[in-house]
């Protein structure tokens, strides 16, 4: 069985999509008002872009390496599934930290809902970059174009 892994391309597409996602996340939060920023605009622009790079690269890396482990054939569905799964894993870890150290880690439902929706948006944006770069064709459930 041949397996095609697109680590590099996935990470690259994810990083580019992640930067865009980070900036869009900042704008979405400003629109929803779920969290009032405590830092300045310049600081947040840099931190959201860097954070977006990390999250996007991880989502894109797993998207590129996922192969058959990721259900769906459409690259958008695959990317949204992957990014949401990554976010959920982190969120489960956060819930465990909150249970261990409740005075340090507070869980806020509006932020959680916003985060879940933003994670799906991250997948869509990574898939958008991927499609723009590589095209949606070329995946057969086992391989992605590298």
């Amino acid at each position: 069985m041949s397996l095609t892994f697109g680590f590099k391309d996935g990470i690259m597409a994810g990083a580019v999509g992640g930067v865009l996602w980070g900036l869009v996340s900042m704008a979405v939060n400003s629109a929803t008002g779920v969290f009032t920023p405590e830092a300045g605009l310049v600081h947040d622009t840099v931190s959201f872009a860097l954070g977006g790079v990390l999250f996007g690269a991880v989502a894109g890396g797993f998207l590129g390496a996922g192969g058959r482990a990721i259900p769906f054939r459409n690259v958008y569905a695959r990317a949204v599934f992957t990014s949401t799964l990554v976010w959920m894993l982190l969120r489960v870890g956060g819930a465990m930290l909150s249970a261990i150290e409740p005075e340090r880690y507070h869980v806020l439902t509006p932020e959680t809902v916003q985060g879940l929706l933003l994670s799906a948006l991250l997948g869509a944006m990574v898939a958008g970059v991927w499609s723009f770069w590589k095209g949606t064709a070329g995946e057969n459930g086992n391989t992605l174009k590298a």
């Binding site: 041949s2 397996l3 095609t4 892994f5 697109g6 680590f7 590099k8 990470i11 980070g22 996340s25 900042m26 979405v28 939060n29 779920v34 969290f35 920023p37 405590e38 830092a39 947040d44 931190s47 959201f48 860097l50 954070g51 990390l54 999250f55 690269a57 991880v58 890396g61 797993f62 390496a65 976010w87 982190l90 969120r91 870890g93 956060g94 819930a95 930290l97 909150s98 005075e103 340090r104 880690y105 507070h106 869980v107 806020l108 932020e111 959680t112 809902v113 916003q114 985060g115 879940l116 933003l118 994670s119 070329g138 391989t143 174009k145 590298a146």
Partner: protein
């Protein structure tokens, strides 16, 4: 161009996998604001962490 898993690509795959693991670790450090791992990361990414729904103080 498709790259097929084989001996000639194993090295690059390992490098890619290692890079992905490193980035994933960095993501976890940022997501949870682990000051013990990277001093200053909590404050640097505080707003980001809240906006993406990760628990924080």
């Amino acid at each position: 161009m498709e790259r097929i898993l084989g001996r000639e690509n194993t090295g690059w795959m390992l490098i890619g996998a290692a890079a992905l693991v490193l980035i994933a670790c960095a993501m976890v450090v940022v997501a949870f604001g682990m000051e013990s791992v990277a001093p200053g990361v909590h404050d640097a990414f505080h707003d980001f962490r809240h906006v993406i729904g990760m628990p924080c103080h």
